[in-house]
Amino acid sequence: MQWEIVIGLEVHTQLSTNTKIFSGASTAFGAEPNTQADAVSIALPGVLPVLNKGAVERAIKFGLATGSHIASRSVFARKNYFYPDLPKGYQISQFDLPVVGQGALTIQVEPLSGNAKPYEKTVRITRAHLEEDAGKSVHGDSQGMTGIDLNRAGTPLLEIVSEPDMYSAAEAVAYAKALHSLVRWIGISDGNMQEGSFRCDVNVSVRKPGAELGTRREIKNLNSFKFMQQAIDYEVQWQIDTIENGGKIHQATILFNPDTGETRAMRSKEDAHDYRYFPDPDLLPLEISAEWIEQVRATLPELPQTKQTRYVNDLGLSAYDASILTASREMAEYFETVYAAVPKDAKMCANWLIGEVNAQLKRDGLDMAQCPITAQQLGGMLQCIADNTISNSGAKEVFRTMWAEGGTADAIIEAKGLKQVSDSGAIEALVDEIIAANTDKVAEYRAGRDKLFGFFVGLAMKASKGKANPAQLNDILKKKLAG
């Protein structure tokens, strides 16, 4: 029986401000417990919140980067619930008037299975609102007690809510990755998933194609793309099995256990969703002028989507190459520096980056920022390929040496004697010798055994110690063998 999967995401991204959203306490990660929990963070009676301009600026940036409506007037609201990591008894959030309204994000989806081709898709963003993070609970040390660290309490979050526009785990993961890349690209969050700077809640439901939306269950707090995919796969199967066995799906909040690969419902508290939002009387409406928006717009870097279009239209790259080269800002900047060295060979730059560099980074478990070869070094090497100083196979050796030991392309080529022979006189002499020494094979070739061509190329390459310019060698061989 065919089922359609429907997924929507709520992403909490911690904003990279120096201070908390409503007070001047530091947000630096990893401090001793409660040393950054000031009077506002611990909710001492009588304290008042004062909104951080840096947090609002980052929200505006996000809105601009996703073509979203930015509210000229938005309102903070209290979301009421009792939990010890939230000592006020409410979280300051936004409700009916969020700072960022409808927008969209275009993503490249790589299907997870089979030979399906990558495709492009646009996911609508419903809204994004500013709110404060809660503290952390530490279980285990003291019998019957829970420890509370309020350093994180009050850290600014931008909660980004999507429409239920994703129809597979692959699409949900692609959207989350694109969003993750975007918030880092525009510098509003460090996106560090281990430290909880980027946390995803995934709403999953299933339905028969064309039917009304099914009842959704919300998988909370996923902090890795791999877990997200596993959790969605498991949850979808669970929902389908439940319905096919005659059961019903009940709306629930669920957790994913990475150790078992299963999802399970959290014990539902009777009043858990009775948040009784109301406008926070401690905060006045937030007004954002058109002028301020324009000032922020001027600080935005060229966005990945714009770069992709430029790479395809101006540099002649494929949409797929362009999307990989803009997967992170580091990657795009690296590519552009390399490309500046060989401005006629965008495709060659793309191939080296997507092929050798990416593969080697993956093998060594590094990310782009840790790449041992600088863009200038690689650019220098590609110049040597472009001007025929080295062959492609020679370049691979230069690349390996550069990766392991550093150095410029010129120095490595010199030290290893990799300079390609492009002197046609020298190649011709070499080919003449081979033809003279293999008269029988030459006769066979001339009689129609075309396959022997490879044999001659092999001999010639060997004779030149791999240094003959392959294109030139091919031409000369063909000419001479033809007699």
């Binding site: 306490a25 530091s26 409660n34 611990i42 301009k53 040390d141 509370i148 009387p281 937030l286």
Partner: protein, 95 residues
């Protein structure tokens, strides 16, 4: 609209207020008189008037993103019922 006793009990539970039957009944009367006031206000024709979200017609002032607070953990924790290794201790909460 008026609140039932059950409504009052629910609101009290959400606000973590322990109330006895007498207090609940008193609260019901008081809350219902507030609802009466709201009903009167709802009756006013507000067509064309933008809703306010604050009693003062002002915009939020913003703070520069600069650290101004220092570590006062010792002072704050001096009045906490129980602390351990810098953590505030509360009765165990497990979801």
């Amino acid at each position: 609209m008026s609140l039932s006793l059950a409504d009052v009990e629910k609101v009290a539970r959400l606000a973590r207020l322990a109330m006895n039957e007498q207090e609940i009944q008193a609260a019901q009367t008081q809350l219902n008189s507030i609802f009466g006031l709201i009903a009167e206000m709802q009756a006013v024709d507000t067509t064309g008037i933008a809703p306010m979200s604050h009693a003062q017609d002002l915009a939020q002032r913003l703070r520069q993103d600069v650290v101004t607070e220092t570590n006062q953990r010792e002072a704050f924790q001096a009045i906490a019922p129980q602390v351990e290794q810098g953590l505030y201790l509360v009765p165990q909460v497990i979801e």
